[in-house]
């Protein structure tokens, strides 16, 4: 059965329309004040009114999120390869990476700001901290999943260690890696906002703190929506990349 794009998008879109309509209706019926819960129309209005301001602040947030995410992909993949390659690295490094994930990143963010100032660097670092672990785990699992008999076959050809890695192990790990990357990419926008909350002079996180203080609640909701749009776009971008780079990884999973 060939599933067309509209038939896949339709259920989600329908649900969104229904929820938004109910929300608008309930806010209107019960006369909820706009500083408690603005209706979708009020949020859309605020979005349009402040579109230039929002987009200006969306730039740095998106930049931090994407940069931190890319650093996480590189670091996560490299540490995963290292852990897979070396038993010493696995025994020494892996436990501490797990421990590092149990530390609340939200609590580390203020320390990073204290050390690294109000610029973009601590935000990028917070994003990386949020994102790299799932990528590391996915890389380790993916490389581990290589069939030892396939490696044997490559050895029988006379293939070098590097060729076995680049021709068989690395491509074979891609489905796992993309699983980790898709998970990680949903964290990166959150990471950037958390970083900005702690201390910043620009970005959507910065704007949210301001608007909360000034009871600009509709615009606060507009910012949240924009962050969500940003996150979903990045997720779709990763899914598209996966489709282009590694189409075979999607074969058994036609819903993506």
């Amino acid at each position: 059965m060939k599933r067309t794009l509209p038939s896949r998008v339709f259920p989600a879109a329908l649900l969104a329309v229904l929820v938004l309509a109910a929300w608008e209706l309930l806010v209107w019926i019960f006369g909820v004040p706009v500083f408690l819960l603005p209706g979708p129309s009020a949020i859309a209005g605020a979005f349009w009114e402040s579109r230039e301001l929002l987009l200006r602040h969306a730039g740095p947030t998106a930049g931090e999120a994407v940069l931190g995410f890319l650093v996480a992909v590189v670091m996560g993949a490299l540490s995963g390869i290292l852990i897979n390659r070396s038993t010493l690295a696995e025994r020494s490094l892996y436990p501490w990476l797990v421990v590092s994930q149990t530390l609340p990143t939200v609590a580390i963010a203020p320390i990073l700001v204290t050390w690294l100032g109000y610029g973009p660097l601590p935000k990028v670092l917070v994003v990386t901290l949020f994102c790299f672990f799932p990528i590391t785990v996915a890389t380790v699992d993916g490389l581990r999943a290589t069939d030892p008999d396939l490696v044997r076959l490559m050895r029988s050809f006379g293939a070098s260690r590097w060729r076995i890695f680049s021709m068989v192990e690395a491509p074979g790990a891609l489905p796992f890696l993309f699983g980790g990357v898709r998970l990680a990419v949903t964290y990166c926008v959150i990471g950037a906002v958390v970083g900005e909350w702690v201390g910043s002079s620009e970005g959507l996180g910065f704007l949210m703190i301001q608007d909360k203080a000034q009871f600009e609640i509709p615009r606060l909701f507009a910012e949240i929506s924009l962050l969500s749009i940003m996150g979903v776009s990045l997720f779709l971008l990763v899914a598209l990349l996966q489709r282009i780079i590694a189409p075979w990884t999607l074969k058994r999973n036609p819903s993506l």
């Binding site: 069939d147 008999d149 396939l150 029988s156 006379g158 293939a159 060729r163 021709m167 074979g172 075979w248």
Partner: protein
């Protein structure tokens, strides 16, 4: 050869003349695959030596080995799978693909060149895996139950096909199988291994004329050889 304290092979002495097609049969778990791994240089024996042309085999890369699973890579097209072995040994991608395509053409499979392996039938997958092995152009082919997973009819086709490929190659071939008919149809010589720890139970020259054909399986000569093999395997002839 011992694996995890289980003695698998015990004093298997074999000399294979160049250009011979040798079939190895034996009960499951007899150590046929282990022996093949030793011949390929993938494992080192605990005792004894594996020699080729008088030189000890200490590492893999000298023989073309084909495992039981076809291991076609899903991210490579058929032609790129056929060229995998060549690329793995450093042949440039361009030249390897060209040779792979030529091999596919020679066996009438060029229409599948750009198809992903997931679209192939089991028999076709085996053909591609066999071409990948043959394309290495090595003088020794080690085939580990290459058709074990196929249905009887497809298997028949593939056996005929292997005869064709082998005739083209002029290589020494060691085929592990548990199919007595397959062994007799293809090989010049059949070696039967005993249960673990494996020894040579019978070393039987197959003096059936070449070229071989499926019809030979109904001849009296074939039946006589088959009976001897089954006897050595400990199975009484029907």
């Amino acid at each position: 050869m011992t694996k995890g304290n289980i003695r698998i092979l015990d004093g298997v002495d074999l000399v294979v003349e160049p250009g011979t097609f040798l079939a190895l049969i034996g009960p499951s778990g007899a150590g046929k695959s282990t022996l093949l791994g030793l011949l390929a240089g993938l494992e080192a024996p605990d005792e004894g030596v594996v020699e080729k042309d008088g030189v000890p085999v200490t590492r893999p890369g000298h023989a073309a080995y084909m495992p039981q699973t076809d291991f076609l890579l899903p991210w490579r097209s058929v032609v790129a799978n056929v060229s995998l072995g060549l690329e793995a040994t450093g042949t440039s991608r361009r030249s390897a693909r060209k040779q792979a395509l030529a091999a596919l053409e020679r066996f009438g499979l060029e229409e599948f060149a750009l198809v992903p392996p997931a679209a192939l039938s089991g028999g076709m997958r085996s053909r591609v895996a066999l071409l990948r092995t043959a394309l290495l152009g090595r003088d020794t082919l080690l085939l580990d139950e290459p058709f074990g997973a196929l249905d009887a009819l497809t298997r028949r086709h593939l056996q005929g096909w292997l005869l064709g490929v082998a005739g083209d190659l002029d290589a020494t071939i060691v085929l592990v199988t548990h199919d007595v008919d397959e062994a007799l149809l293809l090989a010049d010589r059949v070696v039967v291994l005993t249960r673990r720890p494996a020894r040579v139970a019978l070393d039987l020259p197959v003096d059936l004329p070449r070229p071989r054909a499926m019809e030979m399986e109904t001849t009296r000569e074939f039946a006589r050889l088959k009976e001897r093999l089954l006897e050595a395997l400990g199975v009484s002839a029907p």
